[in-house]
């Protein structure tokens, strides 16, 4: 037995095979193996395994490293990605904000003023054409009926009184309920007036539009004059085949009363 300065056990043999022993211990193991052929064969087997493994895989480390494995490149890409992401987020915020403001702007410019006004005027002109011809059923509820205006006020969701147009020679005939537009909070009330020569005027009234904007329009549609306005209280379209000047005069009267004298209820 060779005297050994440290225990030559299996771990020491592994360490020897793997070249992990300091010089003097390596010498001690060599001396031991010289006298122990079985251990020597085992260690030699391990070393052949080591050789085979290195032959198989060691050359990989000398292959040229692909560009995509360059840490500088990867770090740069990560930085760029982060910056691009931040830029994208910022750009998205700007676009969304811009689209939002534009949408809001367009909503005011096109949608409410043109679209709704047109549709309400169409409704008013259509209803006028339909009912002014009627002799006995021109209105749903006659002017003298109790609660006519409170009923209509409730249904269209805004308080209104039938304006008095007696100064212009028109008498209140009565009213009916009609569909409004999608944008109006409720349906519409149609009020009909008549003068001594059986000329008729209808008012088509709805609650105020959500934007409460003041808009005026006077148009000739299908041979009748349609005078539309909206305010923060109501929208009203006056329809009649009277001359334009007379319509304007009527319009002023109606506007004043619907807007300012809503609380005097004398007609119903």
């Amino acid at each position: 037995m060779t005297p050994s300065p440290f225990a030559i056990d299996t771990d020491a043999l592994h360490a020897f095979a793997d070249g992990q022993l300091p010089a003097e211990q390596r010498a001690a193991v060599e001396a031991y193996l010289a006298n122990h052929p079985e251990a020597a064969a085992l260690v030699a087997g391990w070393q052949r395994q080591n050789d085979a493994l290195n032959t198989l895989f060691a050359p990989v480390a000398s292959e040229p490293v692909p560009q995509r494995l360059s840490p500088h490149r990867i770090a740069h890409a990560a930085r760029t990605d982060r910056q691009r992401m931040l830029r994208n987020v910022a750009a998205t915020i700007v676009v969304v904000a811009a689209a939002g403001s534009l949408g809001w702007y367009l909503r005011g410019a096109f949608w409410t003023e043109e679209g709704v006004a047109d549709r309400l005027m169409d409704n008013a002109v259509g209803a006028h054409a339909l009912y002014v011809r009627e002799k006995t059923h021109a209105v749903e509820v006659a002017a003298g009926a109790p609660n006519l205006m409170s009923w209509l006020s409730n249904r269209i969701a805004t308080p209104i009184d039938a304006p008095s147009l007696s100064d212009q020679g028109f008498t209140f005939v009565g009213g009916r309920l009609l569909p409004g537009a999608a944008e109006t909070p409720g349906p519409a009330a149609q009020l009909m007036y008549e003068n001594a020569s059986a000329q008729r005027v209808t008012l088509y009234i709805t609650a105020a539009l959500p934007d409460k904007k003041e808009v005026w329009k006077l148009e000739n549609r299908n041979g009748v004059e349609a005078y539309y306005w909206s305010s923060d209280k109501v929208t009203c379209t006056i329809v009649s085949d009277l001359p334009e000047a007379e319509i304007r005069q009527l319009g002023q009267k109606v506007f004043q009363q619907l807007t300012w004298r809503r609380d005097f209820s004398k007609t119903s």
């Binding site: 225990a7 030559i8 056990d9 299996t10 771990d11 043999l13 592994h14 360490a15 793997d18 992990q20 122990h36 052929p37 079985e38 251990a39 064969a41 085992l42 030699a44 087997g45 391990w46 052949r48 395994q49 080591n50 050789d51 085979a52 493994l53 290195n54 032959t55 198989l56 895989f57 060691a58 990989v60 480390a61 000398s62 292959e63 490293v65 692909p66 995509r68 494995l69 360059s70 840490p71 500088h72 990867i74 770090a75 990560a78």
Partner: protein, 168 residues
């Protein structure tokens, strides 16, 4: 930038180890790329007192194990054509191990034995470093090494050496 340079110096070794583990050049390089990306992202987690090399290998191993787990869940099979080297010469000299045989034997090892053996033999890590990378005690490392070598010996038919008796 020193950090990146130091990582760069370990890339060839990481590729070698990954290739031996994954046995497919593209998959191995994907692992290394993930490893580098992760190291850069988690740079703050690396304590400069420890060895950067060990840290990188630890990251690589975790990625590899995650991938294995996923592959197992999905019932994936590692393609056979990934066998690296068919030796040009027939396994001639007795005692020499046929490389193809060795490649197959390595694949057949238990993962924990393969990881340990390759760190020591291929990467030349000291036992202490290897135990550190694998986060296991030194004794566990030595026993994995021993079992790996015994299994390889059986599998490569190089087991004709006499058995080692208990050495005192």
């Amino acid at each position: 930038m020193q950090f990146l340079d130091e990582i760069e110096s370990h890339v060839p070794a990481l590729r070698r180890y990954a290739r031996a583990l994954a046995r497919n050049a593209d998959r191995a390089d994907d692992l290394v790329q993930d490893c580098i990306e992760r190291a850069i992202r988690k740079q703050a987690l690396w304590k400069p007192t420890g060895s950067l090399k060990s840290w990188l290998f630890r990251i690589l191993l975790n990625l590899y194990r995650n991938e294995l787990r996923t592959a197992r869940r999905h019932g994936e099979h590692v393609p056979v054509e990934t066998l690296l080297v068919e030796p040009a010469i027939a396994p001639a000299q007795p005692g020499r191990i046929a490389l193809a045989e060795m490649a197959r034997a390595i694949d057949a090892l238990a993962a924990e034995q393969r990881e340990a053996l390759l760190l020591v033999v291929l990467e030349g890590l000291s036992y202490a470093e290897a135990a550190d990378v694998l986060a296991i005690p030194m004794g566990t490392l030595m026993s994995r090494l021993g079992r790996a070598r015994a299994a390889l010996r059986l599998a490569t038919g190089a087991g004709d050496e006499p058995r080692l008796r208990t050495v005192k």
